[in-house]
Symmetry: C2
Subunit: 353 residues, 2 copies
Amino acid sequence: MATMQDVARRANVAVSTVSYALSGARPVARATAERIRRVMEELDYQPNAMAQGLARRRAHTLAMSFPAFDTAMGETVFEIVRGAQAAAAELSYHLAVWPVSREGGGEELALIVRQGKADGVLLVEVAVEDPRVEALERAKVPFVLVGRTADPERHAYVDIDFEQAVADAVHALHDLGHKRIAFVGRPESQVASGYGPALRARAGYVQAMQSLRLRPATVSCDASPVAGRLLAAPLLQQEQRPTAVVVLNDMAVMGLVAGLDEMGLSVPEDISVVGAVSSRTLGAMTNPPLSTSHAPGEQMGAYAARALVRLLDDEIKPADCHRLVQCTPVPGRSIGPVPPTFPASSQRRGSHQ
Amino acid sequence: MATMQDVARRANVAVSTVSYALSGARPVARATAERIRRVMEELDYQPNAMAQGLARRRAHTLAMSFPAFDTAMGETVFEIVRGAQAAAAELSYHLAVWPVSREGGGEELALIVRQGKADGVLLVEVAVEDPRVEALERAKVPFVLVGRTADPERHAYVDIDFEQAVADAVHALHDLGHKRIAFVGRPESQVASGYGPALRARAGYVQAMQSLRLRPATVSCDASPVAGRLLAAPLLQQEQRPTAVVVLNDMAVMGLVAGLDEMGLSVPEDISVVGAVSSRTLGAMTNPPLSTSHAPGEQMGAYAARALVRLLDDEIKPADCHRLVQCTPVPGRSIGPVPPTFPASSQRRGSHQ
């Protein structure tokens, strides 16, 4: 059987170059890699991949844990994957996304690392109490959170400042004179399971309202256009009928705007609607375009991947990797001044023109 | 140093059970796995994972190649991931999603398999000429396509019958009296790169129109709400102004409907709009709800994962794994009869009431 030495000799390269070409541990010139590949085929060389792995002790792969394949996802998560993948590639690491659930997913990822398929883990969609975090800590697997647990300081993390993003939306509406500002959040199931963004965004809203001495009114909504659409009527039939709504639920907000239109209400003449922490292009889906804010997903993914590699290299400690990122406003035309009088919900579109 | 035998003895299980718990090759009762894990910690057992891998010669992992993290994705792709993950888990396989590009991605995946990180590959977002397919064939890596190349018969595949889905939409509109039926497809870049769905859907439209002796009119559109919105005006300013539009572009269709609304046109009174091969819930995002059709993504993912494991087990040949799935209609209220006269694009909403 051909050995790695045979391949190196025939391809006229160092043995280490063959090893790098196989492992991806370091970049190898395209033409050289191609020559090595051809020689391996000619000699029918079967790389002793596992033994190799043992020798270098690195899979040069970052595993991203991604429970969100369970539900529909916003574009931000793709930006995170894209940013992490690009940063990993720059450091000669692969990125693989593991669609494991929160329950049992940590154990599965620890196994994956123990099997040499990955070196460390990036955790996305983090819950305040996340069983994956405990499992990875127990297994001594290095990890970086894209999100935060209830007790984040000892972990490496990068997260969106949800509190601030929602508070900004509340203040923008208040500046226009709105006082009855409702909040439409994530699904009740996410609140109950302690999903960080669901809790932090709601907390940010309540805090902002209280600081303005306004009465908070929050409602959960399933992450689907249908649920958003069905919410339009009950939202407006409340005693304290809102003149503005802050929505932290990309899937629902589209349906909500469609539902308001169906009720004959005009945005923003009859009611202002503002999204938060959305994808950059979401706003263009509605008429008028939705005012929202955008999280720098690619930047977050890149930060997380680089931090993980530095943890693997023992260059830093988890407590040194903390970053909270701000959202940037995406202007639309869905917010305006308070309507002079509240229109009755039975009035048809155009009655104010 | 502790051996696997030491772990088995202390945990009071067979050595093979320890091996299964480590490899995930066969299911192990939760309590037993937990006991084994504890004993491994107590003994500070370092599994010779790579050597183990060599012995069993299976990573028990399916790699899914997923170039689409480049662009926004529809819900169908998540359904495919979900279906594949569930089917893989039933067969005691992990599923990892590799966000590699079409160019060079095949080589990267072949390397991953050679390194023992995966056993075979599921290819999503397949181009008619897909360099990943050539690379995997050359490397003799088993794979299943979710999609088809130009020459699909010798490969294992499951794909949506795009031609039929679009033809169904054209015929539904024709039955309502429409003759000027335009087609809004995928981005020009996808057409140029030979992305299967982009080409097949357009071909299905052209064929259906020709079979009805109608003149086809196709337009490409970037996969974004903004692009869809900007398309509304030029689409209606054509000489042969359409009375109906078939859209195979989930990201654009929302923007297109918003753009028509902005122009003062009512759907379906002034123009019918129908989507195709969409997610189940997309329709609720517009007012009126969009008529569309839904592809059975989970079923496709499950079929692909099961087929790949059977290929790995040498139970079947690639040419035995061919499946074309049909979409099911998702009724909405966005299609109606041909308007009696074509409204001028300057007319405002409500002028027909």
